[in-house]
Amino acid sequence: MTTDVCTRWAGAGSSVAGDAAVAGREAALDAVSGREGAALLVVFASDAYDLPVLTGAIRDAAPGVPLIGCSTAGEIASSGAGDHGVVVMALGGPGFQISTATAEVSRHGLREAGAVVAAATADIKASPYRVLLVLSDGLAGDQEEIVRGAYAVVGAEVPLVGGCAGDDLRMTVTTQLLDGSVQTGTVVAAAIGSDAPLGIGVEHGWRRVGDAMVVTSSNGVRVDTLDDQPALDVYLRRLRAPAEAYTDPAAFTRFALTHPLGLSRRSTEELRMVAEPDFETRSLVCIARVPQGGLAWIMEGDANSVLDATDAACSAALQGLGGLRPLGLFAFDCIARRAVLGVEGIRTEIERIALHADGAPVGGFYTYGEIARNSAVGGFHNQTLVVLAVG
């Protein structure tokens, strides 16, 4: 599906072909649709594919076009959400300025990696509207640090948006793509400059369950005790978790998806996805830092509240376009929301996003964490839907 507005354009293509080369080629050709001046390809692909082959096929179909992308926990396209597929979003036409970058977390550290990729925004200074689209390795540590590092370079001037790469919930290794290179343990980013506005929407749709707990001992992303009790035990007991979550890490992770922690903030809760249990130390391991001394709630959501959030995020993103019709929408949707919605629910969710898109192409993926720093510092989210509308 594609949309043409004047000379700037956005397109999306997707494929679920079993062969990586075929899938890459189909999705890329569909996204570009023979138009001139493709400026950026953003690829969201299942790692069931041979990603080097897939990326190679995309680059062959759209030679020389800058590319960023990542592996997913499910892909989002206008036509619906799926697994084991690939979605390619393309932006093109003379009204876009693009600069891409990558940084290795092991070499730079998380914070500096954020700063390194954010430096790409220096190349798009002339553009009136700017955003830094960041895709990071969701398993590489405290993602807030990446956002802080990027914020230190761009400040409030350039919003940050994006998500953490996934691996279909195996939680072992995720992949990032930059041009022809297939990487892991990195942050990739595209600084996007545009002649027309860009809008961002962020919503989660979860609510508190039960009383607050004090994070009595934590270390980075690891929560050791809540209310002085081993955190894992408190968590399982309070939620009356199913028996298998007490012993099976995979069952735990599936269960925890729909029960994030909420940290008390000035006007809202900041959500933390509980990624895995440590059965030995009875700790919880989250996707981002949980500060010691703070208050935390267990949160829950249902299909209705999560879908309401979908509408709110889309509306907020479109509002940022100042009345322009969107050229395309990027959606970074937490894997946990998908777990709450179920198969039917995500169909409805994608339909709603498509409705907001009003015929414009939609592309995105189910993430291990979402990035959106639009107003106020602190821009790493969990269990949230982030929408970027390109006007």
Binding site: G155, A156, V214, T216, S217, N219, S264, R266, V377
Partner: protein, 768 residues
């Protein structure tokens, strides 16, 4: 208990920042981190710290576009709205930051809406925490500087150390007060804690907190006090708001003091009569309004309040304000930082200090220049206890081990549990080899007696590494612990159950190993590890029937690194898991493109014990589409016998996937018929060691007889054999005579890159 949204929000921000700054490593930029935390707390967009009219930290501006003039003007109060690119007009709040010269923190939030008084209070409190952290750090640096400059001035060290400890005590005090605020202790108890804390830290005889009476704002009441004689207390329970040095602080909203109380125009006669010589008072605010004062007074003539003492009083007064604000909110918290901090420094299983606490104690000993000895104790074969008797027994054992070690050392020595089955002892004030050896021996003996645990009697040994540091040596605590660890490893290598004194040469070995580890990590990132394939030949058919996948490392500088060197490192560090997974993926992917040939892949001990091997194999088969029967997993017998029951379980699961299993290197180690018959294996690989001797002149020696036995054994058990390491036609002929048909070795081909193997298969014209 239920808690509302903003309730306790303020105290939470303070405790979070306290926890954050106290956990920051030495080199970290405290100002930047505290600024970030503060801006995030109020959901602001920008922030800056200004000292002496210069921006020393900022946030929210593009790195090359920090508007210095604007921020300095905002700090000076001449600009109340910041124009921030990307965020538009931002309302501003400015607070003082005492630890920096003319220091101020400026924060901006989009929209010009005012900050609430609660938010202002929080920001003020956060700036105070930052100041205290900076001062503590400065004192520490000063102390280090002094130590470098002069090792002799021991008195001076002590003095500085006292200051340092005072700072630490102050932080602890404040955090305790915050705790009592957040746990909603009755207000009077919180206020008592504040006056007692101030009294203890400042060492003055009298402390009092006077608060304006809401019903009669012209008077103040004594809300809490410490050390005021009863008669004087009765006299001064209620007084006029403007009276005394305390009144002065309320009137001016600033710190007030008098070093010559008798001559002071603000002196109160009753206190002069009681003998007060000096006094100091800090205002207590609620929102922006002074509502009381916190006062200390001394009976000592010549008492002078230093700059840092003034800051301490201001800090306590600010906490009083927080307590008053908070007392009005409805919600409650149950726990807080100091308790958590204490727990974070204690091993929960044994109650002994943990690694962090041990390192701190060791650092402290080194800081004052004491000679020390460090023992690093590791239990021998503890894993066996855990695996065979279960974790509860293992835990019980560790508790008793902790007790026995504690009972074997001197009163002043520190015993810690570092984690797992590792313990450490700090022998304080001695670097005497004899003393250390005696201690190590006492511990070894204490641990050598059987442990009577519920349901089990357990015997276990221990290995100990010892390192000594004289007064003059400059090793850090981390260095010493690492060296002791290295010596412990040497003790293990020498056969366990002993202690070894550290020698510098041991470190060299370790360095070589850690360089290899570093290089290996880099190699993984740079794809220097590749899979090579050595063909397996069916000599009867004269065809390639498969290949063994072998890992090769081509280092850009070192050339080819032998697997024997890097595989053990990969095993120890766990890198083998990622590497093994990749080899599985690569090999199955590759083999899926071959015409019905099988591929065999080596599986390491770590992969087997990690518990993910079944999933990894199934995943690799699924992704590649390779039929399971074409994949053979090779396991060495030494791996299998380590934990035969678990291994058997995993092998059964692997068999269910349909793959074949081979025993590699059979006969070189523990060879046991009984387990070989028990395991669900399909293939026996005859090791190169057996083959080397056969078929050569003078053959018929023990090796060639062994080879015959191994082959016969395989045949009895119905196992396929693959003969490895065949290099000569004679060896081939001899092994063929034994009935073997499947071979691999240099006689046909070395392990070759995938593409080359593919070409080889395509040509498929090998002469046998």
């Amino acid at each position: 208990m239920s808690i509302g949204g903003s309730a306790s929000w303020s105290t939470q921000q303070l405790t979070e920042l306290l926890a954050l700054v106290s956990a920051l490593p030495d080199g970290a930029d405290v100002v930047q981190r505290a600024l970030e935390h503060t801006v995030e707390s109020i959901e602001g967009d920008v922030g800056a710290v200004i000292a002496d009219g210069v921006v020393v930290a900022s946030l929210g501006y593009a790195a090359d576009a920090v508007p210095e003039h604007q921020l300095v003007a905002a700090a000076a109060g001449t600009l109340t709205v910041l124009d921030v690119p990307g965020a538009g007009s931002c309302g501003v709040v400015v607070v003082e930051c005492d630890a920096l010269p003319d220091g101020r923190m400026v924060l901006g939030r989009r929209g010009e809406g005012a900050f609430t008084s609660e938010e202002r209070n929080v920001v003020r409190g956060l700036a105070r925490v930052l100041s205290l952290a900076l001062q503590a750090r400065r004192t520490l640096e000063q102390e280090r500087e002094q130590r470098r400059a002069s090792e002799q001035d021991a008195l001076h060290h002590q003095r500085l150390l006292v200051t340092l400890q005072e700072r630490q005590t102050l932080l602890e005090r404040l955090s305790r007060i915050q705790r009592s605020i957040s746990t909603r202790q009755p207000l009077h108890e919180v206020l008592d804690a504040i006056v007692i804390g101030a009294a203890e830290l400042l060492g003055d005889a009298i402390t009092g907190l006077r608060l304006v009476d809401p019903d009669d704002p012209t008077t103040v009441v004594l809300a809490a006090s410490h050390g005021i004689p009863q008669a004087l207390k009765d006299l001064s329970r209620r007084s006029r708001v403007s009276e005394g040095v305390g009144g002065c602080a309320i009137a001016t909203g600033a710190l007030a003091f008098s070093h010559d109380y008798v001559a002071s125009p603000n002196a109160l006669p009753a206190f002069v009569d009681a003998g007060v010589q000096a006094t100091m008072a800090a205002p207590v605010f609620q929102g922006d309004i002074p509502v009381g004062s916190l006062i200390v007074a001394s009976f000592d003539a010549g008492r002078v309040y230093t700059q840092s003492e003034q800051e301490v009083l201001v800090a306590f007064a600010e906490h009083t304000g927080l307590a008053l604000n908070d007392a009005r909110t409805v919600a409650a918290l149950h726990q807080a930082v100091s308790e958590a901090t204490r727990q974070a420094r204690q091993d929960s299983l044994t109650g002994l200090p943990n690694r962090a606490e041990f390192l701190d104690k060791l650092t402290a000993a080194r800081t004052v220049g004491l000679p020390v000895g460090v023992l690093f104790i590791d239990l021998d074969d503890f894993k066996l206890v855990n695996d065979t008797l279960g974790h509860p027994v293992g835990d019980a054992l560790l508790r008793v081990v902790g007790e026995r070690i504690s009972g074997s050392v001197r009163g002043g020595d520190v015993v810690a549990r570092l984690g797992g089955d590792e313990f450490a002892v700090l022998l304080s004030n001695t670097a005497d080899m004899h003393v250390a050896e005696l201690a190590a021996e006492r511990i070894r003996q204490a641990l050598s007696f059987p442990f009577h645990l519920p349901g089990h009697d357990v015997s276990i040994g221990s290995s100990t590494g010892v390192v000594l540091a004289e007064q003059s040596s400059d090793e850090s605590a981390d260095d010493l612990l690492r060296d002791a660890d290295v010596a412990m490893y040497r003790a293990k290598a020498l056969g366990k159950g002993r202690s070894v004194l550290f020698a510098a040469a041991m470190r060299v070995d370790l360095q070589a190993r850690s360089r290899l580890e570093r290089e290996l990590r880099r190699a993984i990132d740079h794809s220097e590890l590749v899979v090579a394939y050595q063909p397996v030949i069916d000599v009867n058919r004269g065809q390639i029937v498969g290949a063994e996948a072998l890992l090769r490392w081509h280092h850009p500088e070192l050339g080819t690194v032998p697997p024997a060197e890097f595989i053990p490192v990969a095993e120890e560090t766990g890198m083998i898991l990622a590497i093994g997974r990749q080899v599985l993926l690569d090999a199955t992917q590759e083999a899926a493109g071959w015409p019905g040939l099988s591929v065999s892949v080596n599986v390491s001990a770590r992969q087997l014990s990690d518990g993910t091997i079944v999933r990894d194999v199934s995943d690799a088969l699924h992704r590649s589409g390779l039929p399971a029967e074409l994949l053979t997993l090779e396991l060495t017998e030494s791996v299998l016998v380590q934990d035969i029951e678990t291994a058997t379980g995993i092998l059964v699961e692997l068999k269910r996937l349909g793959v074949k299993l081979a025993i590699d290197d059979f006969g070189t180690g523990y060879s046991s018929l009984s387990y070989l018959a028990m395991l669900p294996v399909d293939v026996l690989k005859v090791d190169k060691a057996f083959v080397a001797g056969v078929g050569e002149p003078f053959s018929g020696g023990p090796m060639s007889k062994l080879a015959a036995t191994v082959v016969a054994l395989a045949s009895t058990l119905g196992l396929e054999t693959v003969v490895e390491g065949v290099e000569t036609r004679r060896q081939l002929a001899a092994m063929r005579d034994l009935g073997c048909t499947l071979f691999q070795g240099y006689l046909w081909s070395a392990p070759v890159p995938a593409a080359e193997f593919q070409a080889m298969v395509t040509l498929a014209t090998l002469a046998c």
